[in-house]
Every structure is written in C-alpha cells, then in structure tokens.
Amino acid sequence: MSKSRTKTIVKCKNLSKSFSGHTILNNINLTIPEGKIIGLLGRNGAGKSTLIKIINGLVTPSSGEILIDNQSVGIHSKNIISYLPERTYLDKTMTIRQSIKFFSEFYADFDPTKAEQLVQELNLDPDSRITKMSKGMQEKLQLILVMSRNAKLYILDEPLGGIDPATRDYILDTILSNFCAGSSVLISTHLIADIERILDEVIFIDQGKIVLEDSADNLRDQHHTSIDEIFRQTFKANIK
C-alpha cells in the first residue's frame, strides 16, 4: 500500500522438513510482513504446526533457510516472538498470580500490569490455582499471558480449538485489543469462518506446500465469496 514499505518479520527460503522419510514441509517460500494479522490455514496434518515449530526453534528444518527479523532462529527470535502452543505448558499447580510472576521473570517484554488487568476483567481470583479452573478459563489465561508481552510477532497455534462461541469472541477481542501496533500476529486454524474477519493476509498450506498467499480482501474481491468458502473449494478439488 501507499505509505512506508512494509518490512519483513519472517522469511522462509526453500524450507523443507521430513521425519523418517515422510515429507512434512516441501520447499516452503514465505514472507511474513510486519504489522499484519495473518491466517495460516490448512486441514489437519497440512504442516501448520510443524512450520510454526520451526519458526519458534522447536524443530530444525531438514533443508532451507529461515530468518526472523533478519537473524537466524535463536535468542533474538525467542525474545521477539510470543508463542501460544496448541497444548498448554503452564504449571497447573501454580496460582494465576504465580504464573504472572513467572512470565515477568522470564520475558523482559512482559507487562504484568496488563496481565493483572485482563485477569481482573475476567473476574478471576488471582490466588486460585490453575488446576481448579475450567478448560476454557485455562485457555483464556494462557492467551492473556501470551498477549501481555510486547512482542514483535505473536504466533497462536489453534487458539480457537474446542471452545464455545462466547469464549471465541473473547479470544478474538483479546487478540485485537492487545497486539502492539506494528507487530504481527500469525494464527493457525482450520476454523476459518470464525477468524476471517480479522485477517489481513491468508496463507493456505496443504500437504506441506503453500498453495495460496494473498490479502483476504483481494481474495473476496476476486472470488466474490468468503475465505471459508474459497478454502473449502480449494481443498475439495485436492482430495481426489
């Protein structure tokens, strides 16, 4: 668009990953710009989580290159990426207050005041133990902790899995109102209808390959239909 050229926060070049003979990611070329909300959309087993784990340095690629903020994955990338994994890693014997303290000690960019405020808005008692909370509440707390960092890139792996529609709205609101201006959010999901409204860009991934990369409004404009419908049609054809 018009103003300053958008900078890149993640760049993948010819990135591949195989596990014991199975190709999970096949020659991925991808750039993720700064200041955008991007949907990483694909069916189960498409390679979404593997790609996310590579960006987070939890899986090493078999070949190819990945740069985060122009540097290879390492201390710098961990400092600027706030990651919500598919499964919670919180120590459930902690209280909410303790988990906030834990995050403040761990991350320099963590804003405890913001986290406390968000917890208060949910009417949660900071001294209650995580193990005593419902699954939905645990997911909300995890998201609060992740979004209370002033990160350059937020990566949310399936933040909408297995939660009710009201919680879904809460999660979308929390993402929208808390990501820092100028930073990017990468959200992986197969529940497209629920999040497509907040996306700038979409990436379709299937069988380890990027099959489509475009702006959400461009796609709606060209196809006269929703991203959800484009997704269904793209992958219906591919199943055969």
């Binding site: 201006a181 996306l199 461009n218 959800d228």
Partner: protein, 122 residues
C-alpha cells in the same frame, strides 16, 4: 457505538466504507462530530485495525471525514457534500429497485401507480 454487520462474501473494507457512509449521511453521526479512534472502531466491528484504517482513508478521500492532526477524525461539516452523498446513495438504491422490477416484468407506469398509493396494494 456503531453496529456493524458483515456479509463474508465481500471485501470487509468496502462494507465498512458503506456502513460508515450510511451512518454519516443519515446524520446518526452528526456533522462535526469526532469519530472514535481507529482501534476502538476496529474493536466495535471486530475487524483488523488495518482494515478499519483503510476504510477511513477511503472516507477521507470521499471528503466525508477529515483528520485534525493529533485530535482525531471528524465528520465533515460541509452540508452540501453530505446532501450530494445522500442523493447518490438514494439513486443507487432506486437503480437496484428498478432493475429488480424490470426482471419481474413490472413496467414503470405500474411502479408509479403503486408509489402514488404510498406502496399499498393496487
């Protein structure tokens, strides 16, 4: 706060422009009134702030709103321009209506007859 509704088959920013325009030309947001911040508007619509920004830029190009540096965005006080946009909006609604009537095979005299009775059955 403004209530937004979306059709997921069309670009969001176009729908934002349409709905904000309607709020402005119908006077629901009066001339000279300050608009909420981009972030608050985006939250109200549950859309990405970038998309809201794009819609507001478009409204600014249409001169329906203007930016006062550091103060925010305001609805234009140019009443002539508002009237012009109201008429443009009405014309496009009438065109849609006429096209629909034409596809039903209802001719202009019949339409006028119905209109003259205030929309009641003939």
């Amino acid at each position: 706060m403004i209530n937004f509704k979306f059709d997921s088959n069309r670009p969001i920013y176009i729908q934002l422009v349409e709905q904000l325009e309607l709020y402005i030309i119908s006077g629901k947001v009066p001339p000279g009134e300050r608009l909420p911040s981009v972030r608050d508007l985006a939250l109200a619509a549950k859309v990405n702030p970038n998309t809201m920004q794009r819609a507001l830029t478009e409204l600014e190009d249409l001169k329906l709103i203007y930016t006062e540096r550091t103060n925010g965005k305001f609805v234009t006080t140019d009443r002539k321009r508002l009237q012009k946009h109201r008429e443009k909006f009405a014309t496009s609604k009438i065109q849609t209506f006429l096209a629909e009537m034409q596809s039903l095979g209802i001719d202009q005299p019949t339409i006028l007859k119905i209109l003259s009775k205030g929309g009641k059955k003939l």
